[in-house]
């Protein structure tokens, strides 16, 4: 049976290849693919290439001098730059804290939204709202929440008899506030992906487990979690890549302060290119971030490949 299927498949592949080699079909394929290829060249390959090229130049708009090719000099400066290392560390720390954080909260939200509510739409809507809000808007809301005089967080702390915290004066508390805001904002997106994953698990599996004698906790670890793995990996990839690019929330909440304690790589790139107009160095930093994102993506895709 499967042998026959295999040989039929091989035959089909051979026929596909033969038709691909047919000159008229090749021309057709070329013209059909050309618009997409040109579009990708224009919006991805050209900007990335231009970025790498700029990173190899000394190009500062404040100096008034023309661009000068300096090779890897910008990268050498970067490796000696303590702010770069601080921003990189903050970025990695935000990723390490907020990605698992959002995954846990998102999983909880997805399990909640998957319960058989009589009316599902209010639950789904409340899951969607944080995801739909603009990032900078969330930053401003949370800056208000954590405001030391009038913020709701301090109000709650004091009602429980705890001391008031001046959140944005301390590097640790600032960082904590930012991470909480990011987790709140991003867990709904993770929740949506995991909810979609949960809904692909047939109900009869839980019924079989009920009959087999497994309790709710056991069902979660033996059925839900293993079958949710593909959705978890997808959520992790998306969430990690966006975490590495974190900008809006710390920018609107703390501007990277106090000092550089909450500055991220994306903010440092923004500062160099937009505020200091140092396009050469800014591009070198951007190339570093690009390499970091690509590296993480490759690792996840490898993991996913092994899962299959």
């Amino acid at each position: 049976m499967s042998g026959a299927v295999h040989s039929a498949l091989r035959l089909k592949q051979r026929r596909d290849w033969a038709s691909f080699m047919d000159p008229s079909d090749r021309a057709l394929a070329f013209w059909l693919l050309a618009p997409t290829a040109i579009l990708l060249l224009l919006i991805i390959v050209y900007p990335v290439g231009r970025l790498v090229w700029t990173s190899l130049h000394n190009l500062s708009l404040t100096s008034g001098l023309p661009a000068e090719f300096v090779g890897l000099e910008n990268f050498e400066i970067m490796l000696d730059d303590p702010i770069f290392w601080a921003a990189l560390w903050n970025t990695v720390l935000i990723t390490i804290i907020t990605v698992p954080g959002a995954l846990l909260v998102g999983l909880g939200l997805a399990l909640l939204a998957n319960l058989p509510f009589r009316y599902r739409w209010p639950v789904r809507l409340s899951l969607l709202v944080p995801w739909a809000l603009p990032l900078s808007f969330v930053g401003l809301i949370f800056a208000w929440f954590f405001q030391s005089q009038y913020g709701v967080v301090n109000d709650i702390l004091m009602r429980f008899g705890l001391p008031r915290i001046i959140w944005f004066n301390s590097p640790e508390w600032s960082f904590t506030a930012i991470c909480l805001a990011i987790i709140w904002k991003t867990s709904s997106f993770v929740g949506l992906i995991l909810l979609a994953g949960l809904q692909t698990i047939p109900r009869s599996l839980y019924e079989a487990a009920d009959v087999d004698g497994a309790g709710r906790l056991r069902q979660f670890f033996e059925i839900t979690l293993p079958l949710l793995k593909p959705a978890i990996v997808v959520a992790l990839i998306f969430r990690t890549i966006t975490a590495l690019q974190t900008f809006d929330i710390p920018y609107t909440m703390t501007r990277g302060g106090p000092g550089t304690s909450t500055a991220t790589l994306a903010m440092y790139i923004h500062q160099n290119t937009v505020s200091f107009l140092d396009l050469g160095y800014g591009s070198a930093l951007a190339v570093a971030m690009f390499v970091l994102s690509m590296g993480v993506t490759v690792i996840y895709l490898r993991m996913m490949g092994k899962g299959h």
Binding site: E207, V211, G213
Partner: protein, 370 residues
């Protein structure tokens, strides 16, 4: 093993009542089949026995325990699902062992039980595979294996063969019957397929609209159907029904046919309207004088072993199963006979079967009471 007793079992979803008071006693080691068209409440009844649906009213007893409020895991039942419900990420071995592992059976016992069940079902070579690597028939066996290893008091089967192709269905059906003989288990089996019901059951429960229409052995429901519904549901091709009028100890058909009423003549009077039921296989090719059915041939279907002749009698379509070599031409008139002992007479209004006095006593309330 244990008996199962349903007393006045009801199920409602809001205002809609889908199971309307089922009384049924399944004896220890008995195989009872619930059969009926989709929506008749048979699967809901089974799921209530399993504990997967709550019971709106009535009492459910397994062995000597009332289990109404107990969750599935405390009812000591095993279930084979229509879609098999195998855990896709677990191997066949792990699927079968799961129920025992959850109940903390020692490892060597799990191992020996799984391997023994796998041997019985002929799936010992598949233990390391995942369900996705199995054929439909193999998955079905794994689902049965998962039930068997548990050694529960009662096995529940929910349309277990409906996802298999016709040939495999026949094969697995035989295996289930053999399995029942080997392990002598109490089994409640749900199907919409009357052939499965007839071949497997010790007793058949024919359900319709959430109620039991008839309960009896396969021979009972085939030979003495209580209603026109049961008569048409059990047996393939279905029983033929003809409108007739009682006259002089016979039911007079259209186009000059007639059927003797026998003992029923005593309880029917001239002019009564009745429905005459004749199974396709109970027509005789020669009219025996007393029983004749005349009609016009429409279509002839040779099946090899025999031939189906579809013909019309006064506008009503009939089917007769005749000898293989009998091939009347379409459009011709045929006159067939019938065995008077295998004629069924129904009340056209209540659709219930008339029974001679003696038979009525024997078959009890089913035949006459509404």
């Amino acid at each position: 093993m244990a008996s199962v007793k349903l007393e006045g079992i009801r199920k409602s979803y809001g205002a809609v009542e889908v199971v309307k008071g089922i009384d049924l006693e399944v004896a220890d080691k008995e195989l009872v089949v619930l059969v009926g068209p989709s929506g008749c409440g048979k699967s809901t009844t089974l799921r209530m026995i399993a504990g997967l649906e709550s019971i709106t009213a009535g009492t459910l007893t397994i062995g000597d325990r009332t289990v109404n409020g107990l969750p599935p895991r405390e009812r000591d039942i095993a279930m084979v699902f229509q879609d098999y419900a195998l855990y896709p990420h677990k191997t066949v071995y792990e699927n079968m062992a799961f129920g025992l592992k959850v109940r903390n059976h020692p490892r060597h016992e799990i191992d020996s039980r799984v391997k023994q069940a796998a041997e019985t079902l002929g799936i010992a070579h598949l233990l390391d595979r995942k369900p996705s690597q199995l054929s439909g028939g193999q998955r079905q066996r794994v689902a049965m294996g998962r039930a068997i290893v548990r050694r529960p008091q009662v096995f529940l089967f929910d349309e277990p063969l409906s996802n298999l192709d016709a040939k495999l269905r026949g094969q697995v059906r035989t295996e289930i019957k053999k399995l029942h003989q080997d392990i002598a288990a109490t089994i409640i089996y749900v199907t919409h397929d009357q052939v499965e019901a007839m071949t497997l059951a010790d007793r058949i429960v024919v359900m319709r609209n959430g109620e039991i229409e008839q309960l009896g052995t396969p021979d009972d429901v085939y030979n003495t159907p209580a209603t026109m519904f049961v008569a048409s549901f059990i047996g393939a091709p279905a029983m033929n029904f003809l409108s007739a009028t009682v006259s002089g100890g016979h039911a007079r058909l259209a186009e000059g046919g007639r059927v003797p009423l026998g003992a029923l003549a005593a309880i029917l009077s001239d002019g009564d309207k009745v429905k005459v039921g004749i199974r396709p296989e109970h027509f005789l090719e020669e009219s025996n004088g007393d029983c004749t059915v005349t009609g016009t041939v429409q279509v002839v279907e040779p099946l090899g072993a025999d031939t189906l002749v579809h013909f019309t009698v006064g506008g009503e379509t009939m089917t007769a199963r005749v000898a293989a070599q009998t091939r009347p031409a379409p459009g011709t008139r045929v006159t067939l006979g019938c065995d008077p002992a295998r004629i069924h007479i129904f009340d056209p209004v209540s659709e219930r079967a008339y029974r001679p006095q003696a038979a009525q006593e024997r078959h009890g309330s089913m035949a006459v009471e509404a």
